[in-house]
């Protein structure tokens, strides 16, 4: 029961704050709504018993990305500034397209019967996650783990290249 309540709470929060994120006229508020969405998602992960993931979600997403975003918002616009909204035509067209997409996708998904893998439901703890992360056997994720480091390095350098001021040019 509690589970259900939590699920519906988080679910509702996700949908509502998502909507608010994309409709709010104030950019900063949108960022905050996004934060709520991400936190709710983390809640869902918790509820699904993926604690490590939830923690990562909270730290990286909520803690990292959103802060970054808020930072840049503060850098590029005034707090009180109202975001310009798209023209009606664009909104309606987008809504139509997106709505059609959503309906089609939902129809398709809901019609599909997902077959669970037979077998037990092993409860992973954080050690298992850690082991999997450095395993290079099947269902081990050492390689992606290494590669993501390259990616992060590259992203860092990329961000620096893009953002750094040029000394020579006036």
């Amino acid at each position: 029961m509690l589970n259900q309540v939590m699920f519906f709470l988080f679910g509702a929060m996700i949908v509502i704050f998502s909507l608010l994120t994309v409709t709010s006229r104030k950019v900063l508020r949108a960022a905050v709504y996004l934060l709520f969405v991400l936190i709710s998602t983390a809640g869902l992960y918790f509820a699904l018993n993926y604690n490590f993931l939830a923690a990562v979600q909270l730290t990286v997403y909520a803690g990292g990305i959103v802060v970054l975003i808020i930072f840049s918002i503060l850098l590029t616009s005034h707090v009180s500034e109202k975001a310009a909204m798209a023209p009606v035509k664009q909104s309606v067209l987008s809504a139509l397209s997106v709505g059609a997409g959503a309906i089609l996708t939902l129809m398709t998904i809901l019609r599909f019967t997902f077959v669970p893998n037979p077998g037990t439901d092993p409860q992973y703890n954080i050690t298992d996650v850690g082991n999997a992360l450095i395993s290079y056997k099947r269902d081990g994720y050492a390689l992606p783990f290494e590669v993501i480091s390259v990616l992060l390095l590259a992203a860092m350098i990329g961000a620096i290249v893009v953002a750094k001021k040029e000394r020579i040019k006036k």
Binding site: R111, R138, Y141, L143, V150, V162
Partner: protein, 475 residues
């Protein structure tokens, strides 16, 4: 892991190492000496290129996440060659004062994307695939925004990163559905269980949209022209040649393995997309005056031709796609190389500036003409063979009308390629671009491209090797 495994992953590891070496050297160099990085890097990359050719059999690592075989190595080598040419061609540009401080970053970013592509090609599951894809994209966005003082460059960067984020979101949604419906992210497992159900088809379409974005197929291509125009010329050639080639490689692998059970359906999709892509690409290319934008649209149209090979759905199709990409790399780099050389020296990128080029810079004009003819598929240069084999493989699948449409499109493409030829050779100009002499690296880059354009076609061995390798994979 043992030494052999390292050897197996040499393309990726060497590159990573290379990127780190560059970084370290860069940190230890005085600002005035930054340009020493260029020859060092070129040399190292050349070593890497050579090492890539060490023969190596098939292998699987990381429990199937990473796999390799001679064909994949071949693909990587092809990309390496392309990158090497691009590096050569970008030397002049990098030496410019404004880029002085960012030389090493350029290399590192370029190498990381290449690492990403290599991983993507070698990926044995969707996770590595996705990771490789992102690694191949995100740094490029930074590269696109490389030139600060140009608004166009920044615009290219934002357009690339945002639309690629959107596309990878959609792609990911598709992957998630694939995962949900099959229970695995490993290609080998999915191949066995994938079925033609609505959801799986939908997942495929989402996935395919995301991939189409990377190889810029209509209607997922719209970012291409803007980004190509805005990005620095060498990044543009990288995007149009290497990124696209890698994406085409992985697409054909995935199509032929993972989604082979959907073949009946996806061929219809490909048919539609191919026609759209060729036609729209050509129609847009016709009007372009900016050479980069022009080549962008031409490369969109070229992407449409690649689909013809996939439609063939057999060894021939696979071979022809790889062969075509190889030829395309050389041809496009020939064209981009010339544009780059001119643009770097004179800053001129408009087609009108090319009027009367032959009188002042005959060699560049000739190379440009050859490249364009190769792109248009005119014998005896290599492009003809590439296109011919693509058409042949589509015809082998019975798609005669598609071949017809494609060749008609090739004719339209010939029209606009000839416009450039016309500008260079026929149009009179009171003040053509002055004669200039490019530096050694640029000339080497152009020369390699030119040689490739000329000899790849006649040299049937290349095709045969690819064919035999593909044969090994397809069976």
């Amino acid at each position: 892991m043992n030494f052999n495994d390292f050897l197996t992953m040499r393309h990726e590891l060497m590159l990573t190492l290379l990127a780190l070496v560059v970084l370290i050297i860069d940190l230890n160099l005085h600002n005035r000496h930054k340009h020493y990085i260029i020859p060092i890097t070129l040399g190292l990359f050349f070593v890497n290129l050579l090492v890539g050719f060490i023969p190596e059999g098939s292998n699987t690592l990381f429990g199937g996440m990473y796999r390799t075989n001679p064909l994949l190595i071949m693909m990587k080598n092809i990309l390496n060659i392309g990158v090497f040419i691009i590096l050569l061609q970008s030397v002049t540009w990098l030496k410019k004062e404004e880029n002085r401080e960012k030389i090493s970053e350029y290399f590192i970013l370029l190498f990381s994307t290449l690492i990403g592509m290599n991983f993507m090609i070698s990926s044995g599951d969707f996770l590595m695939f996705y990771l490789g894809l992102e690694l191949a994209t995100i740094p490029v966005a930074a590269l696109a925004a490389y030139t600060h003082h140009q608004t166009k460059s920044a615009e290219a960067g934002i357009k690339l990163i945002l639309s690629s984020a959107l596309s990878s979101g959609i792609l990911l949604f598709g992957i998630s559905m694939i995962y949900g419906s099959t229970g695995s992210i490993y290609f080998d497992t999915i191949t066995k269980v994938y079925a033609n159900t609505p959801l799986q088809l939908l997942a495929f379409i989402f996935f395919f949209s995301g991939m189409s974005f990377k190889i810029s197929l209509v209607p997922f291509h719209l970012w291409t022209a803007d980004v190509y125009e805005g990005a620095p010329i060498n990044v543009t050639s990288y995007l149009s040649v290497i990124s696209k080639g890698a994406a085409a490689f992985i697409l054909i692998i995935v199509m032929f393995t993972v989604f082979s059970s959907l073949a009946a359906v996806y061929k219809n999709i490909l048919y539609l997309i191919a026609v759209l892509t060729m036609t729209v690409g050509n129609l847009f290319a016709m009007r372009q005056k900016n050479m980069k934008r022009f080549l962008a649209f031409s490369s969109i149209a070229q992407a449409g031709f690649i689909l013809l090979g996939i439609l063939g759905g057999n060894v021939m199709g696979m071979t022809s796609v790889i062969y075509f990409v190889l030829v395309y790399i050389f041809s496009n780099l020939g064209a981009f190389g010339v544009v780059s050389a001119i643009s770097t020296v004179t800053g001129k990128e408009s087609m009108d500036d090319y009027d009367g080029l032959y009188r002042t810079n005959p060699k560049l004009s000739l190379l440009m003409m050859l490249s364009l003819f190769s792109l248009a598929g005119i014998p005896p240069v290599a492009g003809f063979f590439g296109k011919f084999f693509l058409f042949a493989s589509a015809a082998s699948g019975g798609y005669y009308w598609l071949v017809f449409i494609a060749v008609l499109n090739a004719t339209i493409s010939l029209y606009y390629y000839l416009l450039v030829v016309k500008a260079m050779f026929i149009n009179k100009n009171e003040t053509p671009l002055a004669f200039f002499k490019s530096d050694l690296a640029t000339r080497a880059g152009l020369l390699i491209a030119g040689l490739g354009i000329f000899f790849l076609g006649f040299w049937a061995k290349v095709y045969e090797i690819i064919s035999s390798l593909s044969y090994g994979i397809m069976q």
